[in-house]
Amino acid sequence: MTQKILHTPNRPAAVLAVILFAIATITYWDASHMKVRATYGMSASAASYFVAILFVALAIGHLVTAFKPSDIDVEAADWMAVGWIGLALAGLIGSIWLGGGFILGSTLLFALTARAFGRKALLADLCLGAVIGVLVFLVFNKLLTLALPQGPLERLF
């Protein structure tokens, strides 16, 4: 079988059309498995079916535009920077997941995001992030009595 790659002038629109079709399918599948029925009028599944139809319509719309030249210019992106922010968020999520607590997580988030925006002084940013993290933690936990995730550092206070 020969591989034939479909060439369209507007690739993102084509990709999005596929995603929209997928969401429509998931929504339809989910709605068809609903068991609770309303006595009168519409059941809870009706809105799901409506949204699924809307997604199909939008997917068709995107598919049509995929064969026209794109009407917007997409700028070149610095994927390294995007990756650093992804890493920063992963640092926060990882820290909270593994019980490292909020202060450690937000320190990582701060320093790695600053790195994404081109700062090279990672050590200084780590310190600044830690200071901000401690301050935020104190304000939230002591002043506003909102519970932030606790780790070994937080239990010291």
Partner: protein
């Protein structure tokens, strides 16, 4: 005369020291965050929602309103000095304001923006106080079918009618509607789109979506291209005061901007972008010096800024009287009300009359505070623009994630936030508007239940929507508004930029 006595009661409440402090904190934070590039009032309120969770409801709502107005003032400062509008409503201000700043007339540009905002917000808030009770009298007669019709109009106008592309706007709306389906259905208890994840049973938090799309998405987007476009604020040189000539050229655009902004803001027609563009176009037509437009005409700052703030007050009319948000900021404010189990709508004026009128009175007070904060103290805010971009965005991300986990301390919530951030990045990159998604999430479930309650009343007959003339007309308007942009392609040129 009822309005007047209610308003007096409101003032009695608003000048209580605690409420004055809330208003002051609100306008300070609102201005500060509004000045910071890339953060508009919607995001500011969304970021602060979780923080105020345990505070007094009346005070917090006064604070939100202060943030809303403050963000509007602050946004114009950024637009003028940095050419990076903090929110879409300031895009037009940047056109002439930034040119004025480059020509060394940054001071008068800031002054006409601040005074124009003050005049407009003052008149429009008075309009809100006068108009709201009448609208409540009408709204109290609304059946669920009428609400459904209204929400249809809001959906269509926010997403399709005035956007750069109806297809992209509707896609953004559909994303919001889809998220709105998630969780346990309120009428039947049926779980929708939860995929067996218990954290999703409560549905998607509006704040998580707004913060994810606006804050995280913006950070991704700015980082992805900041290397190519570094920007520096233009220093304010010379006097910040307006000359006699400036005054003469400004006062009419202020009033015209107010007259344009307030009604359009009050209609479910999608926020402040349209009136600002409209005001700009009109000022250019009416100006005696049209050749100055594009090179720093003061009318091009005065008019749109007034329209901007007048429409901000205008959006509060449907929000308070009908519970209908017509902009992203209003949608987030609605989430703020709901956080305290207060449902805006006609009943709000009877059940929480003190709260509503206290809020309206606080808007007047906040407006005066903002004039003081923004005219003599503008230099202080400009210093905020000197925060290095890496630290600024790092701080925004810390604050955004902190607010999210404080409201709901779970890893799932953070994963959702990150996911929405990625979606927000993609949407920005490919020019999809953000606001329809937020409006879709908050109005989707409301429209769903309004429709189903109508059908329960009619024993399942869908014709009930067309048998009532009021809802039939509204559904008709929604259909026309949906079809029009596809028929008249030229209409979409009406507004070039969103976000």
């Amino acid at each position: 005369m009822d309005t007047f006595s209610f308003l007096l009661d409101g003032f009695a409440l608003a000048i209580q020291p605690a409420n004055l402090i809330y208003a002051a904190i609100g306008v300070l934070i609102g201005t500060a965050v509004g000045v910071l590039p890339g953060i508009g009032p919607a995001l500011t309120v969304a970021l602060l929602l979780p923080v105020t969770f345990k505070l007094d409801p009346g005070g917090s709502i006064i604070m939100f309103a202060g943030i809303y107005y403050g963000g509007m003032y602050g946004g114009s400062t950024t637009a003028i000095l940095l050419n990076t509008p903090g929110e879409s409503a300031s895009v037009v201000t940047a056109l002439e304001g930034n040119k004025m700043a480059r020509a060394g007339r940054g001071g008068p540009a800031l002054a006409t923006a601040a005074i124009g905002s003050f005049v407009a917000a003052l008149i429009a808030t008075a309009g809100l106080a006068v108009l709201a009770p009448y609208l409540v009298k009408i709204a109290i007669k609304f059946g669920p079918w009428d609400y459904f019709g209204l929400m249809l109009i809001a959906f269509v106008t926010v997403s399709a009618t005035f956007g750069s592309s109806p297809l992209r706007g509707l896609t953004s709306l559909a994303f919001g509607l889809w998220l709105g389906l998630m969780g346990i259905d309120q009428l039947t208890g049926q779980a929708r789109l939860t995929f067996g994840v218990p954290e999703l049973l409560d549905g998607v938090e509006v704040t998580t979506l707004a913060v994810g799309l606006f804050a995280i998405g913006e950070a991704f987007f700015v980082a992805s291209r900041h290397l190519y476009k570094p920007e520096k604020p233009i220093p304010v040189k010379g006097s910040i005061w307006m000359t006699k000539e400036d005054w003469k050229r400004s006062w009419k655009p202020w009033l015209r901007g107010t007259v344009i902004g307030f009604p359009i803001g009050a209609l479910p027609a999608g926020g402040a972008e349209i009136p600002t563009f409209l005001s700009y176009t009109i000022e250019r037509k009416l100006s005696r010096k049209p050749e100055e437009f594009g090179r720093g005409a003061i009318e091009g700052v005065a008019g749109p800024e007034a329209a901007n703030n007048a429409s901000a007050a205008g959006t509060l009319v449907p929000l308070l009287t009908l519970g209908l948000p017509t902009s992203a900021t209003a949608a987030v404010m609605l989430a703020g009300f709901q956080q305290y189990n207060i449902q805006p709508g006609p009943l709000l004026f009877t059940q929480h009359a003190d709260l509503v009128w206290g809020l309206v009175a606080s808007l007047f007070i906040a407006n005066v505070m903002l004039l003081v904060l923004n005219l003599p103290l503008v230099g202080m805010w400009v210093k905020l623009l000197k925060i290095p971009l890496p630290w600024l965005y790092a701080g925004i991300l810390v604050f955004a994630s902190m607010g999210t986990i404080a409201a709901n301390p779970s890893v799932t919530e953070l994963l959702l936030l990150t996911g929405f951030g990625v979606v927000g990045f993609v949407m920005r990159r490919y020019d999809y508007p953000i606001a329809p998604a937020v409006v879709g999430l908050i109005l989707g479930p409301l429209a769903d239940s309004a429709l189903r309650r109508s059908l329960q009343i009619s024993l399942g007959d869908p014709m009930i929507l067309l048998q009532h003339p009021s809802s039939a007309i509204m559904i008709g308007i929604a259909v026309i508004a949906l079809v029009a942009p596809f028929v008249f392609r030229g209409l979409s040129k009406f507004r070039q930029d969103e976000d």
